[in-house]
């Protein structure tokens, strides 16, 4: 089976490509990228005459060739989301590997990395193996598990990182439950070096955030909700940065939500430390105002912050302080969210809106298209040792997006079981039109 994507705007920062051209796919792999116009900024000339340019489509192999007209669309490497919750095993009523990967594909992602807070927790190789097997059977895209840092996510005893890496874990994180014990965190950053895997830190000083449910400030006072100060995140960002410098371990900071965190990370990067960071679309799209009216769909951890934080996060994305845009896709059941704000679970079902929300950054001039692809594909690939490229020979993971058509977000139509989104009803542009995962075409509209 061959696929020809014709006349798309191909953007692939891994090769410095930004051209109008075609991509030929053969047997699930990228055969080649063919630049069509001479006035493009390609740093790479086509290696040889395109094999299909002269009647190839009409030729004898036409039955095997599928042509996709991509004129006016962006053709980019498949997106990689290094922070999702697929909920399986254990919480299949919230999401399954099948529905979560369907949501991923619909959102333009061809690889997702799932956090370990399932039931049982992914803190041993047998759970990792289950996820990998289940994903191979039912997954619509590549699923890479992230193991827990500590057994039971209790913050006490390290998991068998080596064994779990061999089984398929690409990183380790106690996401949602930070490792409060600094010595254990130090050991995790040290020990993981032996296997070259990053430690992903959910930065939250639990003793300071206590049972807070939104950002601390005037609004939390007037809503009567318990607030979480930005310092609860920043204290732990700073601690983990210092530990990363001490150990020279690989630290990746999850879901950065405050201006103070951006500054701390910018400073440590200037010092040359090997620290990377991610943010999520809701942290540059929404402020705490979304919580007004006690909308539990806007309850997320870390909480939505202020305009000033949004500006700092955009600045951090622009100047490279924040390497990655991840979703922190956290699907929940409808009934769980339809209750007291204090008791509703935190999280946003984010896979199906992430790309279009991030495209707004391109529209606003915060990022170039190439930089956006870096944040959503190339950089996560580099951090996790994956592909994120359209180089010939790579798996055909490709996202084709329509940047012109405006579409209303309809939570009820999500592929994800989690309809919990504060973006329901928003008009957005830049939805995927086709997502190709390992050569398999998934199409909408």
């Amino acid at each position: 089976m061959r696929i020809l994507i014709k006349e798309g705007h191909i953007v692939d920062p891994s090769q410095g490509i930004d051209v109008i051209g075609d991509i030929l796919i053969e047997d699930g792999k990228i055969k080649e990228v063919i630049s069509q116009k001479s006035d493009v900024r390609s740093r790479k000339a086509p290696p040889h005459q395109p094999p299909l340019s002269k009647g190839g489509i009409k030729g004898g192999v036409s039955s095997e060739l599928r042509t996709i007209a991509a004129e006016g669309m962006f053709v980019i490497p498949g997106l990689i989301d290094m922070h999702v919750h697929l909920r399986e095993p254990g919480y299949e009523y919230k999401e399954t590997i099948k529905t979560g990967t369907a949501a991923a594909i619909k959102g333009g992602f061809t690889t997702v990395c799932c956090m370990p807070n399932t039931y049982p927790i992914n803190d041993n190789a047998s759970v990792t193996e289950f996820i990998i097997r289940k994903a191979a059977l039912e997954g619509l895209c590549t699923v890479l598990p992230i193991g827990a840092i500590t057994k039971g996510q209790k913050g006490e005893e390290l998991v068998e990182m080596g064994t779990m890496k061999d089984q398929g874990c690409v990183a380790f994180s106690d996401d949602g439950l930070p490792v409060m014990n600094s010595l254990i965190m130090r050991r995790a950053l040290e020990y993981s070096k032996a296997f070259g895997v990053p430690i992903i830190s959910h930065c939250e000083d639990l003793t300071l955030s206590e049972d807070g449910v939104m950002s601390e400030g005037l609004l939390s006072i007037t809503l009567g909700l318990k607030g979480v100060p930005a310092e609860a995140e920043q204290i732990m960002v700073f601690r983990d940065i210092l530990l990363a410098e001490l150990t020279r371990g690989r630290l990746h900071i999850a879901h950065v939500s405050t201006a103070g965190s951006v500054k701390l990370i910018r400073d440590v990067k200037k010092r040359g430390a090997n620290v990377t960071a991610e943010t999520c679309p809701h942290y540059f799209s929404l402020t705490e105002d979304s919580v007004k009216g006690y909308d539990t769909n806007a309850k997320v951890n870390p909480p939505l912050r202020t305009k000033k934080d949004i500006e700092a996060i955009k600045e951090g994305l622009k100047d490279g302080t924040i390497d990655v845009i991840a979703t922190d896709h956290a699907p929940h059941n409808r009934d769980e969210k339809l209750r007291e704000f204090d008791f509703a679970p935190s999280g946003i079902s984010g896979l199906e809106t992430a790309l279009s929300l991030s495209m707004k950054l391109v529209d606003e001039g915060v990022l170039t298209m190439s930089q956006l692809v870096e944040k959503m594909s190339l950089n996560p690939a580099r951090i996790l040792g994956l592909n994120g490229t359209l180089k010939s020979g790579a798996d055909a993971d490709i996202t084709i997006l329509d940047t012109k058509k405006e579409v209303r977000v309809e939570a009820e139509k999500f592929a994800s079981k989690g309809k919990n989104t504060p973006f329901d009803g928003w008009m957005l542009k830049g939805f995927p039109f086709i997502t190709i995962s390992k050569g398999r075409i998934n199409e909408w509209q």
């Binding site: 005037l218 909700l225 006690y294 209750r339 007291e340």
Partner: protein
């Protein structure tokens, strides 16, 4: 006329609406002074008190107000209900509505619960206290009492003393009194008055001696014993020593100062007995006025077109 079918908080009310409630309450207070204290205004309507937190005075006050207006009243208290069997809040509320409730008076330990129910129910939802958010009828009865004693609220210096951070009474009073033009001061330890509170248009004091000077009204809040030893204040003794209302301290206020307390009081801790039982205290009048104000609220909500 009120515009919304629910009373969720003072935040949601305009000055006109607050004044309308206070004026109507005056009329109902006259009714309460009569020999026959019951009016047939809302005969045939049903009121359900749904209390997820223990309460005697507020629940009783609402119950009596509803009865004085001739509605049928049911008390739905949590320990005896199916909530303990794991029924969700929404299901409980829908069940109560299906019984034919026109008014649902809700108290809940979690902020925003009345707002959630108001969206889901056709009945009028009245907030009888939600977490640390608001207790609107308390603020309305306090404003009514102040107006009765001082003729107006505008321009008065009013001090609210105690645990502002965790007090829904304080929050509702801040909104209500500032809307009515009073100059509101808050007094208490910094751990119990968040910095940002000043953005609400109030002045914060940490010493009683500074904050009580020249005030027309002192509003004491109940200090929650659970807060001691949790970093808010080390002991009730130390709290009382610094922020308790004594005769000495009260002498710094204006001569005709009135002292209020939403109850229940911790005598000898936040307020001395001489003051609570003394001539400046209007604490029991607050209770009586609460009845009139709650009648007014129900009466006005019944008139809102749904």
């Amino acid at each position: 006329m009120l515009t919304e079918k629910d009373l969720l908080g003072i935040k949601e009310l305009s000055v006109e609406e607050i004044n309308l409630i206070l004026d109507s309450a005056a009329a109902f207070k006259d009714v309460l002074g009569r020999d026959i204290k019951k009016v047939p205004t809302l005969r045939g309507k049903t009121t359900v008190n749904v209390f997820f937190e223990p309460s005697t005075r507020t629940r009783t006050s609402f119950e009596l107000a509803a009865k004085r207006l001739s509605t049928d009243v049911i008390n739905f208290s949590v320990p005896t209900s199916s909530v303990v069997k794991g029924e969700s809040l929404i299901d409980t509320a829908l069940t109560v509505q299906a019984l034919g409730a026109d008014f649902i008076i809700i108290r809940h330990f979690s902020a925003g619960v009345p707002h959630l129910l108001a969206k889901k129910l056709k009945a009028s939802v009245i907030n009888a206290g939600d977490g640390t958010n608001e207790h609107p009828t308390q603020a309305l009865l306090d404003a009514f009492t102040i107006k009765e004693k001082k003729e107006k609220v505008e321009g008065l210096n009013i001090a609210i003393v105690g645990d502002i951070a965790h007090s829904r009474v304080a929050k509702s009073n801040i909104y209500c009194l500032t809307k009515l033009g009073a100059k509101v001061r808050l007094i208490g330890p910094p751990t119990l008055i968040p910095e940002e509170t000043e953005d609400l248009g109030v002045v914060v004091f940490h010493k009683m001696e500074d904050g009580l000077k020249n005030v027309d009204v002192v509003m004491m809040l109940r200090i929650q014993m659970e807060r001691q030893g949790k970093g808010f204040f080390p002991s009730t003794e130390e709290y009382s020593k610094n922020w308790g209302l004594t005769l000495d301290r009260l002498s710094l206020a204006k001569g005709d100062v009135i002292v209020m307390h939403p109850g229940p009081m911790n005598r000898g801790i936040e307020i001395s007995s001489e003051i609570a039982d003394g001539p400046r205290s209007v604490i029991l009048e607050q209770v009586t006025n609460g009845l009139a104000v709650r009648m007014a609220v129900m009466y006005l909500l019944a008139g809102v077109k749904k």
